[in-house]
């Protein structure tokens, strides 16, 4: 599997994603600069977190016009799996590849904490490794993560099972107490109509090492690996699974 990680000026989670793909999965990852117009031979694309273009105007608003986004749009239209994390999710919304928008947290603060997130849809390329209703502990780190959409969009998302991740409380319920940023319907992540473009505010790539407090994000990357190897007609590599189970990923911070 070859994963393209798109880097914008101001991306800062690109190496975390790179390490999740290369060290957790043992697969190949490469960076694609935002000025490039090709994703080369990627099997999947990740738009990482950060503060592209300094979040000027609105988070993701300017990044969506980068040359690489035309390639991302084509890749998505062809059914290729695309994952937007945090700022990547904002960019996908601004680009119209996902519905809705992300506005200021209701707290008005940048929030960096570990939250509980329930997996609502296990049929996307990034969630097949989870159990339906499984509650994950994932890191969030954002100032604009408050998901909004008009009522018709929200109804469609709910009716079509396109809410992929939802913030929940200690009892696994999507209550106000379990909602860190004010997102409507406690939405933490969604998928497009075609089912191949997923965006979420929490950072699965920061939750792939015990050293960082949680391994619960690993399933996102393992799901992708399984999806790609299925579509390539190959079996997932069990060697990498053993490697990870032995704690092979836990050696220090990011580059």
């Amino acid at each position: 599997m070859r994963v393209a990680i798109v880097t914008f000026p101001g991306s800062n989670c690109d190496y975390d994603c790179y390490k999740a793909v290369t060290e957790l999965l043992g697969e190949e990852a490469f960076f694609v600069w935002h000025r490039e117009s090709s994703l080369r031979d990627a099997d999947a694309v990740i738009l990482p977190g950060g503060f592209s273009y300094g979040d000027y105007l609105r988070g993701g608003a300017i990044a969506r016009f980068s040359p690489v986004m035309e390639a991302v749009r084509e890749f998505a239209a062809g059914g290729g799996p695309v994952l937007g994390i945090c700022n990547g999710f904002q960019i996908l919304c601004e680009a119209g590849l996902l519905p809705g928008a992300l506005v200021r947290n209701r707290s008005l603060k940048f929030q960096g904490e570990v939250v509980r997130v329930r997996v609502e849809n296990t049929s996307t390329p990034f969630t097949t490794a989870y159990e339906p209703g499984q509650v994950l502990r994932l890191h969030i780190a954002h100032g604009q993560g408050n998901y909004v959409a008009d009522p018709a969009t929200l109804n469609a998302l709910e009716a079509e099972g396109r809410v992929v991740f939802r913030y929940v409380d200690a009892d696994g319920q999507p209550t106000d107490a379990g909602n860190p940023n004010g997102s409507l319907h406690n939405i933490a992540g969604i998928v497009n109509e075609a089912g191949n473009v997923v965006g979420l505010m929490p950072h699965p790539e920061r939750s792939v090492s015990r050293l960082l407090g949680s391994m619960d994000g690993a399933g996102v990357f393992r799901s992708l690996q399984a999806t790609i190897s299925r579509s390539n007609g190959a079996l997932p590599s069990s060697d990498h699974m053993r490697h990870v189970a032995a704690g092979g990923f836990g050696h220090g911070g990011v580059a």
Partner: protein, 85 residues
């Protein structure tokens, strides 16, 4: 072609929670401005555009708003074209 000054005012959509406006309202009330309500915080963008006439300048500004300056999901915009410039 004439240069037109344009002012674009972008505000959070009616009905959408505006946490910034809320915080400012609370601060104003704590300063005893008790009569204050409905504080909303937006953004003002000034630019100049070369166009045939004021209508064309306004149309150009509207296209800019729809494409980049405002997010139609969360924001409303109003355009003012400065005449005689």
């Amino acid at each position: 072609m004439t240069q037109f000054g344009i002012e674009v005012r972008i505000t959070p959509r009616q009905g959408l929670l505006d946490p910034q406006g809320q915080a400012i309202q609370n601060a104003l009330r704590s300063l005893a401005f008790d009569a204050v309500s409905d504080v909303r915080v937006g953004r003002l963008i000034r630019l100049r555009v070369a166009a045939e006439n004021a209508e064309a300048a306004e149309r150009a500004a509207e296209a800019m708003c729809r494409k980049l300056l405002a997010n139609p999901v969360t924001e409303d915009f109003a355009i003012r074209v400065e005449t005689g410039s």
